[in-house]
């Protein structure tokens, strides 16, 4: 009966193994070789895969929580501007750090501490963007959230944060401008600090467990406030959980890899199509699917980067898959009603 769980794990391991074992060879220039890497290559690729897995799973889980919170299958941290808010927080942090210090003159621990610091503005940015989205998306007359307003609010928030980031970027020293430019497209790197991966993994694990604990209540919460109340679910508690967890997950993934779009949209959608909307299954499978999808997308991005001799951000890949899917869902009956 529960065939879907092992199947999704097999998919995940398969994609991870494929990505781990494939890469360019030094001897033959651009040729791509399928072999188990050794030495430092192994460590670097593993770190990259771990980063992709954590970010993919976090975004997918964040999508599940947001969709539940807003009772709308089109909700996604990228579409609603949460990722934009989080990355604006990060870029501002980079700006502040570059203003007040010369990293070269600082001791190593201080540099570490400064780079650790960007997780907090990332969370604050995500939470502010989400609150703004809520506020703007709620009709003042009826007091209800209107899906069209909400998506529009998200688009505008994304546009504003994007403009702010470009503005801040132009004040940065040139050596950092290129880095930020890449970051804004969503880029998974081999040299992601390990503590960041551990932190992101911790946030992911904790949010996952909390979600599974409340899975039945999440099912009920997706109906309406009056039904949730009648069935004994505290909406105020669940809203808070959904709000905090989706902001935290978005913030962690943005801190690791920048704003990567549509993973939170694609994976829950596919899982619902295959296994139905029950949160017990959704919460188990969607994050595994998210991890597999992002490892796969990053794998394609990495290989095409090798072939083009130019790094390609993974966010480009997910947007190319997710954008059309979003439009399709918007048009189709299952999108919103």
């Amino acid at each position: 009966m529960k065939w879907w769980l092992p199947l999704s794990l097999v998919l995940f391991l398969g994609v991870a193994l494929l990505s781990l074992c494939t890469g360019p060879t030094l001897q033959h220039g651009l040729a791509i070789q399928l072999a188990i890497p050794h030495g430092s290559t192994f460590g670097l690729r593993l770190a990259r895969i771990a980063a992709a897995a954590i970010v993919g799973a976090s975004l997918s889980l964040s999508g599940v929580y947001l969709q539940n919170l807003l009772r709308n299958p089109l909700a996604d941290p990228y579409v609603l501007g949460l990722s934009g808010g989080a990355s604006l927080g990060v870029v501002l942090w980079i700006f502040v750090v570059s203003m007040c210090s010369q990293p070269a003159h600082l001791p190593v621990w201080a540099v570490d501490l400064l780079s650790l610091g960007h997780t907090i503005p990332s969370f604050i940015g995500a939470a502010i963007a989400m609150a703004a989205c809520f506020w703007l998306g709620t009709s003042r007359r009826s007091g209800f959230m209107d899906p069209v307003r909400l998506i529009l609010a998200g688009v505008i928030i994304s546009t504003i944060t994007g403009a702010c980031m470009l503005l801040v970027n132009s004040f940065l020293p040139p050596y950092q401008q290129n880095h930020v430019y890449f970051y804004l497209f969503g880029y998974i790197s081999e040299i992601t600090p390990h503590w960041l991966l551990i932190g992101g993994g911790g946030v992911l694990g904790a949010s996952w467990m909390i979600g599974l604990r409340y899975s039945r209540q999440l099912d009920i919460a997706s109906l309406s406030d009056i039904e949730a109340a009648a069935l004994g679910v505290s909406m105020s508690r669940l809203r808070l959980i959904n709000f905090v967890l989706s902001s935290l997950l978005t913030a962690a993934s943005v801190a690791i890899a920048g704003p990567i779009g549509f993973v939170g949209l694609i994976c829950p959608h596919i899982t619902r199509r295959l296994l139905g909307p029950s949160h017990q299954r959704l919460l188990l499978v969607a994050p595994i699917l998210g991890a597999s999808l992002l490892i796969g997308a990053d794998f394609v991005a990495r290989l095409s980067g090798v072939l083009l001799n130019e790094p390609i951000p993974v966010g480009v890949m997910t947007a190319l898959i997710g954008g059309p899917l979003f439009l399709y869902m918007m048009r189709s009956r299952t999108g919103w009603r």
Partner: protein, 265 residues
């Protein structure tokens, strides 16, 4: 009789001086009501008279700015969400299901509390109450279908099945017959009468005066958030009251007329 009135717990639902307003607009003003057990109470009144707000207050989704709502002698804010869902069940006026739950998943939501106790018995056969609720409402054949693909009438019956599956002493129905054909309306009346027979307290919000006259033991007439009259149907739906509240005369609203309809076989 004196024993019943003196002992608070025999009045399952009691509103004491309840006032409620959204932002600034008052919706309910100083409402006092008792809903006894083993009775069908119909709440009627024109659109916007505060009927649905009453339902929101009853299940604790809304809390009154002043006054007190008591369930079984306990003030509502002191009852936990879990406890409350075992005392009061509700069929909402509108059901929006953003995700494609199956009918079985939808009805099983009523049992999520007892499930946790039962450590995950997932088949219907393991759950007598659930089975009973599905059979009573005649939706057993629908359980595999997505809720969103049902007709409005079928959805309403499924919602009623979920309410019955909660197995509570107090049930609230908010306009449950709006999408039901005459046959299923009569079935619903029979279901509600069965709940009354077992000593349940039924609070039925409707604007169908025929239905109210036919089934209610007690009618509460609301207008502009205030109770105009409460009492047995003949009193509450008297010509003078109808004229005052709705601006209509009774005319066609006569007992014999709905006796024309009854289920065949």
């Amino acid at each position: 009789m004196t024993d019943q009135t003196s002992h608070k717990s025999h009045i399952p639902v009691r509103f004491t001086n309840v006032s409620f307003r959204y932002h600034t607009a008052p919706v309910l003003h100083d409402v006092n009501m008792d809903f006894g057990a083993g009775c069908i109470h119909c709440i009627v009144g024109p659109n916007g008279s505060g009927k649905s707000t009453l339902a929101g207050l009853l299940i604790g989704m809304l809390s009154p700015q002043s006054g007190d709502v008591q369930i079984n002698g306990q003030s509502l804010p002191t009852i936990s969400h879990h406890q409350r869902s075992r005392l009061v069940a509700l069929t909402p006026q509108r059901i929006l299901c953003p995700f494609d739950y199956s009918v079985l998943e939808f009805v099983r939501m009523a049992r999520h509390q007892s499930w946790l106790d039962m450590q995950g018995v997932e088949s219907i056969s393991g759950d007598k109450v659930l089975q009973q609720a599905l059979q009573t409402t005649g939706v057993v054949h629908l359980i595999g279908r997505p809720f969103n693909e049902l007709s409005a009438g079928e959805q309403q019956r499924v919602a009623i099945a979920r309410m019955l599956a909660q197995d509570t002493p107090i049930t609230v129905l908010d306009e449950p017959t709006s999408a039901l054909d005459i046959e299923h309306q009569l079935e619903l009346v029979a279901m509600v009468q069965a709940i009354r027979q077992k000593g349940g307290c039924v609070i039925w919000i409707t604007h169908d005066l025929h239905m109210a006259l036919r089934t209610a033991d007690n009618i509460v007439m609301l207008k502009n958030g205030q109770v105009v009259i409460a009492g047995p149907p003949e009193v509450a739906l008297a010509d003078a009251v109808l004229g005052e509240v709705f601006g209509v005369r009774r005319g066609g609203l006569q007992q014999p007329q709905f006796e024309l309809y009854s289920k065949t076989n």
